[in-house]
Every structure is written in C-alpha cells, then in structure tokens.
C-alpha cells in the first residue's frame, strides 16, 4: 500500500513538470499582464543589450539549428521547440537557463514580458 502511494505521488510530481512551451507562454503572458509579441521577441533575441553577447551569440539567429557556446565552442542543441522537443518542458531547466543567460546578456533578470515574447517567436520557427 505504501509503495502504491509512493508511485502515485511520483507520477503526480512528474506530471507537474511535464509542461509544454505553450504552458510557459501562457504563464509568462499572465505574469506580464499583456499578450506576447513574436516580432518583439525576435528583435530582443538578436540584439545586444549593452554587454558582449546577445541570445543569438550562442543560439544563432536561426535557433532551429545547433548553436555553439560563444566562449567554449561546445555545441548547443536547437532552442526552437520545432527542432528540439525537449525545450520548454521542464520548469526547473527553464528557470535555470533564463536566470543564467539573462544575467550574462542583460546583466539583470528578464521580465515576464521578455520571456513570453521570446517563446512566442521561437514557436513561429519551423
């Protein structure tokens, strides 16, 4: 009986993490209080924000393709969900990478609006 409960709890916990890119988009739009703009997302992704790197510096301007870490050269799997089904499906990973990468490219956290815009743009890529 106890084992069954543990299995049930694990399944519940796992399903809580099984998000889709659209879930993240909806969540960030709600937090921002206004709809996302893919066009704004594209601009944001490709511009530098006062620092050395843009998002595209590592993810390329066409993130359906494999990127490369600007410093270490390590290949980075495509960021666009159409090219990599694992993207934007795990809240812990999404939080971690937005935290790190926004800090590296903008020297601050990204706003919910910026995150929503970028995801909206990534979802238009095929």
């Amino acid at each position: 009986m106890r084992h069954l409960l543990i299995i049930a709890a694990t399944l519940l916990a796992t399903s809580a993490y099984a998000d889709t890119p659209l879930d993240f988009l909806a969540r960030y739009e709600k937090d921002a209080g206004s709809p996302a703009s893919a066009e704004r997302g594209a601009r944001f992704f490709n511009m530098k924000h006062g620092d050395e790197w843009s998002c595209a510096s590592c993810h390329t301007e066409r993130p359906t393709q494999v990127g490369r870490h600007a410093k270490t050269d390590k290949p980075i799997k495509p960021l666009a969900p159409s090219a990599n089904a694992e993207r934007f499906t795990d809240a812990a990973k999404v939080d971690k990478w937005f935290r790190r990468n926004c800090n590296d490219t903008l020297n601050r956290a990204c706003s919910a609006q910026e995150k929503a815009d970028v995801i909206a743009w990534l979802l238009t890529l095929n």
């Binding site: 870490h69 410093k71 050269d73 390590k74 812990a92 935290r99 790190r100 800090n103």
Partner: protein, 156 residues
Amino acid sequence: MKFQAASSIAAVLAALALPAHADSYKLPRNVILEEECGSCHMVFPPQMLHADSWRAMMGDLARHFGSDASLDEQRRIAITDFLVAHSGGRKTGATRDARGKPLLRISETERFIKKHREISAATWQRASIKSPANCGACHTRAAAGDYDDDTIRIPK
C-alpha cells in the same frame, strides 16, 4: 572471517595503488556533473585541481569565469562533494596563486605548465586549438579521461 580481512586489505592496497597512475583521470559516471558542467564545457578531470580550488569555484558559480553558472543548492553541494572526493592534491603542484588564493584554472597549475612547456604560443593560438581549456583538440581521448602521451595528436 579470514577471507573478509584479506579482501579488505586487498581493497585498501588497491586504493593506495591508484594515485600511481599519474595520467589516468578516469571517473565513475556522474549524471549531475555531466548534465550541469557538461552543458557548457567538457567535464574537466577533478584530479587536476586541489580540493580547495573546487570548493572556491563551486562557492562562486554566479561569477564563473565571466558567466553565470548558478545552480540550485542541492545540485551544487552534490557536485562539490564529488569534485572534492576526486580532487588531486599533490599531483597539481602549487595549489594557490601568489596572493594565496586557490588556483581556479587547471592551466595555471604547475603540473599543467610543466607538461605543456614545449607548446609554443603560436600553437595555442591555432584555430583548431583556440584555448588551453580545449583539451580534446590534442588529447584525442580526453573525454574518456585518458591523457596518455600516446593519444596526443596536435592538429595543424
């Protein structure tokens, strides 16, 4: 009982014998290490830095060689413990810089400098090599923890 004692003595002897393989940097699989460190760069052998260096590095991940590599606390501790457990003390030579701070770059350790003294500045700068952090450019089996001389092939 006797057999048990003999086998534990054998285990201790085997453990003591390990550091003698100076160029073997084999590691037990560690998924968290591969996932977290390996997502941005190759997994550098923990044996190449002193435990103090790993502790210092893992204590300042938000400023990791110019990048934010911050981690959740649980994973940070797990990785630190693993790195410290497999760190190299004596092998690396001096473990601190002139100001007494733990060295954070493997390429600044005495052992690394001594081992690479024949590599010219021009060789380091080749597009095929780029940086001393790019171990696999010349050490063809680096990803498997094999830095043996026989496996070196310096690219043009």
